[in-house]
Amino acid sequence: MFAVLDRLYRLRSSVALVESPGKLEMFRTNVRESLRIKLQYENIIGLLAKFDGKTLARVILGGEGIDFVDGEELITFLVENHILIEVDCSYLPEVFGEKYRIINLIEDYVFSTAGVIEALEKLSTSPVLIVGLGAVGTWVATNLAQSGVATFILVDDDIVDISNLHRQDGFFQDDVGAKKVDVIERRLQEILKCNVIKICDRLDEGFFVRHGLDFCLAINCADYPSVDHTTELIGEYCMQKKIPHLIGGGYNLHLSLIGQSVLPGQSACVRCFRRALEKINQADLEGVKKLNRLNRKIGSFGPVCAVSASLTSSEAFKILIGAFSRLATLNRRVEFRIRTADFAFTEIEKNDNCEWCGSSGKYVC
């Protein structure tokens, strides 16, 4: 009946506890989120400190003379909020030694140590498709490899150009002229042994038919011929197959954009975004013409591309470990303000009339 009582729990080292009369603040420093509760209990911190991951909850509650029903309710609440974590297995010392930062962050997203091991397993076994190895895709690939992703499908048909070096990760002077997929594969292998499938091809209408790929997450970092076009192709294929996908930002003409996350059937799809944005832009552009000018070159800046990539990688990480409720770019178009280093949003709702994901859409779940 009291399943909680016969389990082990650990108070997480990264939680800052601040006690005041009748109140307790619990601040999770890893994700910078605070939880405040009202509670009459003398030396609540002393009680929480007893959850050391080695003593059964029944023994701790009994020793303090706490009613088991109340105690169970409190423990459940603290586990749901990632203050306590259930210890149902221990980490192998060599794994923890190598990956303690990743593990400690995952503890903020799951409820038990077995959940952490499962998340690491998902990261290392889920194939991730990255289309486009430019100013965003290169950073995303490195970020994910360092965070435990071990199977990549990398798509790019280009070679390294000297003009890539100022803003793209992983390319050195000596790589100029080499295939981008080869250079990034070597880079990922130098970090950690991983499995890289290289596709030196361009994303077009026939791409998915030609290659028959199997993946758990797609990240669009390609802007040729336009990001709208590549997004449409990836979005549609992923909607058919019900695969989560991310639209990277930071590309030509949208240097400071952070793209959206899409969970098919649950969030606004790329078609919902397109329709909503067309509506917004139409109001702005009524009667407006763009002055026609020739021979334009568009600017770019590595650190801004990398800001965009870093947020895309963080979202990818959450999707891969199954922390869907914690996504920051679901149903949202985020823009990074370069002058102030701040973010602005446009909220885009899932559209019930959407021809892809609406109630009578083509790809309804």
Partner: protein, 376 residues
Amino acid sequence: MKILSKIIKIKDSVDVYQIPVDEHSEKLQFYKINTRERSSIRVAKEFSLILSKLDGKLSLGEVLEHCGFTVDETELSEIVEYLLEHGYAISTDSDFTETISMNDMERYTRQINYFDDLVVTRPGVDSQRILANKSVVLIGCGAVGGAIATHLVRGGVTDIALVDYKKVRVSDAQRHLYYRADEVGNLKTEALARYLRQINSACNVRIVNAKLLPNSDLDELIEAKADIVINSADEPYIGHITLKLGRYLWPRHIALYVAGGFDAHAMSTGEFIVNGLTPCADCCSNTFRVALKDWTPTYIPSYQQKSDLLIGGAGGLASQALFSASVGAMNIISYLIDDKAVSENLHRRGEYLIDRGQMTWIELSTQEGCDVCSIR
């Protein structure tokens, strides 16, 4: 100079929209793609045609000849002045194209174009050259420091000193951009230097293998030519080293950037400490002390068996370190080419909330009666 002999180019990074007003005039809206800044003016219709031909090759007189009409020269002057002042156009009769080599022009072309918008008072190529002549000292070659150095060298900094005492460990694979399995056991300064030289073999990297302590002699670490010192060393404690550096650099008018991204601040932006522009290091430290005076947290540490690693302790992903490093590098590069470009980020430190997609900020302010700030 007569207006008609001027050669003007509307920047590649500016979109121009024509919005009809009435029969004779229209509104021209200028939009900087890179920085998303915009403004508009109302002009007579014939000026739109003139503007579409400003490609930096023809003089205004020649453009008018092409158009086949004349316009009021005073009005033309006013419009040109507006374009130049807001950074929508550049005057190409100034001699700027010879200031960097063709190789560098090729390597940095897209960034130069971005600099056109970032610093509107001069051509981007001049900003690129200014950046190439700056001298940087990096203290701490960890995940964030290493990534800042990478951004700076990729961006065109060619003189950098690296200070650290640690060796590359297997666990650095989690966040260090310059990590490679075959560098494990090597000094971090040397591994990072190799990485930076592979990006740009012309980069002058000075290595200092030392641990910065409260009694270290900073004259040995920081050369007088330094334009900025970046502190990303979080051991023994970032606050103490920052105060020491701050007090040393302030009277010497060398900027300090205190990097973010350490333990409990995995996605913080970091902050500037610059004499004449911001509060001093002591004031910044006191800002935090005052803000947190009623907040005394307790941590209950659990250690992983037979190690000093905290289980359930400070987490962090490569992407989080990259965020802090990238915002830092963006601020540092902007500051190095023009301190006004970062004016809005000078007085505050931000933290990105990973599950909300939002920033929170703390404003840094000068504390009353500070002895250090009074040194100008």
